[in-house]
Symmetry: D3
Subunit: 241 residues, 6 copies
Amino acid sequence: MKHQLSQKTRSKLEKVSTATIATALFKAGFKNQFIQDVHPLKIKEKTMVGQAFTLRYIPAREDRNGIEVFRNPDHPQRIAVETCPKDYVMVIDSRKNARAASAGSILVTRLMKRGVAGIVTDGGFRDSSEIAELPFSSFQNRASAPTNLTLHEALDIDVPIACGDVAVFPGDVVVGDADGVIVIPIEIAEELAEQCINMTLYEDFVLQRVQEGSAVIGLYPLTDPKIQKEFDLWKSKKHTK
Amino acid sequence: MKHQLSQKTRSKLEKVSTATIATALFKAGFKNQFIQDVHPLKIKEKTMVGQAFTLRYIPAREDRNGIEVFRNPDHPQRIAVETCPKDYVMVIDSRKNARAASAGSILVTRLMKRGVAGIVTDGGFRDSSEIAELPFSSFQNRASAPTNLTLHEALDIDVPIACGDVAVFPGDVVVGDADGVIVIPIEIAEELAEQCINMTLYEDFVLQRVQEGSAVIGLYPLTDPKIQKEFDLWKSKKHTK
Amino acid sequence: MKHQLSQKTRSKLEKVSTATIATALFKAGFKNQFIQDVHPLKIKEKTMVGQAFTLRYIPAREDRNGIEVFRNPDHPQRIAVETCPKDYVMVIDSRKNARAASAGSILVTRLMKRGVAGIVTDGGFRDSSEIAELPFSSFQNRASAPTNLTLHEALDIDVPIACGDVAVFPGDVVVGDADGVIVIPIEIAEELAEQCINMTLYEDFVLQRVQEGSAVIGLYPLTDPKIQKEFDLWKSKKHTK
Amino acid sequence: MKHQLSQKTRSKLEKVSTATIATALFKAGFKNQFIQDVHPLKIKEKTMVGQAFTLRYIPAREDRNGIEVFRNPDHPQRIAVETCPKDYVMVIDSRKNARAASAGSILVTRLMKRGVAGIVTDGGFRDSSEIAELPFSSFQNRASAPTNLTLHEALDIDVPIACGDVAVFPGDVVVGDADGVIVIPIEIAEELAEQCINMTLYEDFVLQRVQEGSAVIGLYPLTDPKIQKEFDLWKSKKHTK
Amino acid sequence: MKHQLSQKTRSKLEKVSTATIATALFKAGFKNQFIQDVHPLKIKEKTMVGQAFTLRYIPAREDRNGIEVFRNPDHPQRIAVETCPKDYVMVIDSRKNARAASAGSILVTRLMKRGVAGIVTDGGFRDSSEIAELPFSSFQNRASAPTNLTLHEALDIDVPIACGDVAVFPGDVVVGDADGVIVIPIEIAEELAEQCINMTLYEDFVLQRVQEGSAVIGLYPLTDPKIQKEFDLWKSKKHTK
Amino acid sequence: MKHQLSQKTRSKLEKVSTATIATALFKAGFKNQFIQDVHPLKIKEKTMVGQAFTLRYIPAREDRNGIEVFRNPDHPQRIAVETCPKDYVMVIDSRKNARAASAGSILVTRLMKRGVAGIVTDGGFRDSSEIAELPFSSFQNRASAPTNLTLHEALDIDVPIACGDVAVFPGDVVVGDADGVIVIPIEIAEELAEQCINMTLYEDFVLQRVQEGSAVIGLYPLTDPKIQKEFDLWKSKKHTK
């Protein structure tokens, strides 16, 4: 049975950063879960969180990728757009090739309307300024106007893929913020989310202290027992508010 | 005789996106007209449209590129800036090398004052924040402070060049928006502009429908005769407004 | 004895651009002082100026870079953050590798609180949106969430380094604006700053003239004696204001 | 039903070069069938020809790629090696990543013993000098000692893949010589092979003429009717030998 | 006290391949010890083995790197050549920049005469064909004629460096063969060498079996108890020879 | 009037290496004359020397580069092959793009038969093994089978070009050996050749000494007056032989 991301875990992950998640993954032995060189089209208030629904592109061969292929109602790219589950993130393996678009504003708008949580490609989007302005999370390498048929053939839906040098398995948890996108194996998402909440709490304390003038040694990471006590106090006050 | 871009075609192209143009070019058999990895310094309301006036750089050789060369009133870069026709776009072949500047704010301001439509380099500009704030379209790979003499020698004016892996012939129509810059062979610009206007009209209809909740299959591309009728109605209403 | 950047020279450099400095360095025989492909996280009003305090990273080896290393109060990265002198710029040699972070918001905030003038890496920062919003100058290649332990081991403090293909010696003057970051050998900083002030004055005059409609030939560079007189007049008026 | 490469077509393709095939494919509308930046480990007398049997790698995730995975008799890489059909070419999608090996000499030797026609990766092989010396065709980007578990997880067997920016479908005809590797869609292989035989015959005639001192204009391509006659004569003599 | 490579360990390492060492390092938790994209100038019979003596280059600054600097008897590059211990391998951090030479045939010949075991750069050598023909191990990215002063300043001797994305600590054991160069932390060299000897013995058995027609499953890795017995027998026979 | 390379200067340059020329150019203020990442198809006994005859390619546009264009007797590539002067080197600006061929064996053979001295591209050749075996100097980045029409349009003959990041002016002297290709401005070729002969003489002396066991300090460069005397003696003996 496939793992599901619980609402509780999702809520936790929405409150933590990809940087904190990266550290938690590092501690758990995962050093290569950050999708490389992929950025938000526009930085959004809300962190993107959702399970991965994947789309695999291979290089386009001319005889298979004329403009007419989209007339086929079973074209994998269109099927993907209409079947990606609500609250999932569509992740596209564009082989790090942004010389043609992975998708454009119409398909991305459709995903948004269908309740999808976001879209990620290690290539690029066309109509990038329209996509950037949607109330929807989108991540790419760089904008690219050419139709995806120019270089990409959508081949597979919901298979394990590579995206920005990261293995993405369908159902993995995908989190995106200003730094970029990170992938959490679904099996450890619940435990890792809880750990990240605790790490974030301490980082908030640290940042407040540093803003007040504290040095980082002893404080970050916590090695000074005195600071441990101060943190415990700070935490209890915070909770009683 | 050289082709001229008519005001009518220019107006049409100002109303369509580089993405739509890329699709129309793809249909016409042109798959490599989008200048790769070149971006607006700042996204402007108005789409840049103009015929190409080109400038070719080769690598700078030390004995030919001392700081004194700009004292020569016949230096090709300066001649280019003073002779680029009004409403044209200056396109610079910087060999995709942004390690030194292709131009700076003084020259770009001069182009603007002379009525030029925009400037494109597959290298970079210095004084990039000043250029970005001008009411003028400018596209580059990335900002670069070093004087162009460091790495570039301006050699030829208005010859066919490469820019971002695209062939640019003098007089070709250059269109730029948030996605980047695309080059339309002048011979097909008129017909292609008309086609893009029609495609854009349909895309507007599609986007409205998708925003209202329609699925894309049957709608985009149009394969459902019922939607054809709805589109015809929508179009007639739109025109009677 | 080590050279010190005087307040007077610092003030001058705050009034000139990296582009002008690059030209002055070119005239002085320095063609490779611009840190390549490094950009401000956010463009700031104030130009960053400070002497270089360097940090050298080498690739992380797994047995030397477990998460526990930061518990060591003598870890070079933490020592660097607590010892970088006030008004200096921390410059990190990340070997142009942005696949893991060079630092995050806590350390950068600490540097800011300690009065450091800015931070530069040829890799990337995590927590990039928080760092961008600080009233502090920061420059990177691109954002990167993974902890620096993933790929970087902080090894040396205040030794000559490479950053973005530029040699950076401790004490060199580092200047950063929207175009990026340039490095001035400390030995020539005073003289070069004065020269840049004069160049900037003339460039301001040129830009005003170009905005008023002047052509660039004869004006930029100045070869027309008539314009020399006009500039002298303009300068004297400016000074009497 | 899947197409099969006939012995006749195979024999023809063994007599022509990848360059000639590339031209024939260009004429047929295929411009992107040459696997980029992949080279023979050692140039062999015999041209490699075989249908593609594919293996898809994705990035290795640490928890799924410990050294023990190869103990699993169903590991896809080992299954691939034991099931790749005789006379086929194993083509590996290594995502153009040669930082870890795609395979080593033991597996390649096993493929050779099983009668496989060759192996191609857009990554690299370990034990490269042993593989080079085998009487077996092998193509890679560059040698690479790390075990493939370091960066690659073998995931799929005999699905369409990307290799060196080319779409490779199982059953396509893969031809390799000193220039590299080209992929012929199986549907057109027979016709294209015949065409290549004819082109090669004419190229042999041209090369002989050029060696004897002829100019290329009129001769290559053939536009001079006189040369047509000479070629017809040459051809008939050749056949009567 | 610094670790020394014993003659016994050296002898073992001379009998194993970088591929086998890479696997042993992988098992020990080291995944990034293979110097990337560095190749032998000529494949030699004998495997290069020696402890690392390092040389660190930074980018050349024009005022510090005139042709006269080599007249200084204390120039670090020349000192390095005259002080690199016998049987060590000189490893140069050229920042993966082969656009100018790391060294030429005179210096490499001098190293050879001094009894050094080999030289490695992640840049390139000039006089590459002379160096290739020496009875001496040399590894580079690609040949490069320009004098190293053009882009490199030799700065430090025998400090930890990066070479081809690998951390190299003075005294680490450097092994090079046809696949390239791998770095073994000196602390584990002895144990790892012994392990590699055993692995190599088994690989020799496997390769013999595969050449004789065996399948790899059960054999490589060894999971079939029957094969274990056969191997034990083979081993005992081999030893009694 | 255009400079001509004298037979005397040519003979001198045939006796020196590109490495020695690079050093002499460095002394003369030229730091960027070595064509980057271009290598001999096969290392030849004889050094290639000849003046540059250039060919400029731009990206191919589909409507201008059908297979039929070669039927045009005025196609620039074919004209170039038939007009490149005897003893010149054809240098092709392929924009560092080896994804399609710059030329193939027929054209290269024709150049050889016409007495041309060699061919250089910063792209690649098809039929590379045939070209490698010709008694003719050829240099490329890497082999590439696709016809040049796929990506390149030959546009200009004998104009200044970029090749491998170097400015090449028609008539410049192009020298190629195992390290690669270097470009000498024709104006300084005579003087530089003489200087290189002297440098080579001293380097031969140095290499002999180093082979005999001398240290390099004092010897290379020559700073020890005693060695000057020994060299003078060695030189006089050599000349009297």
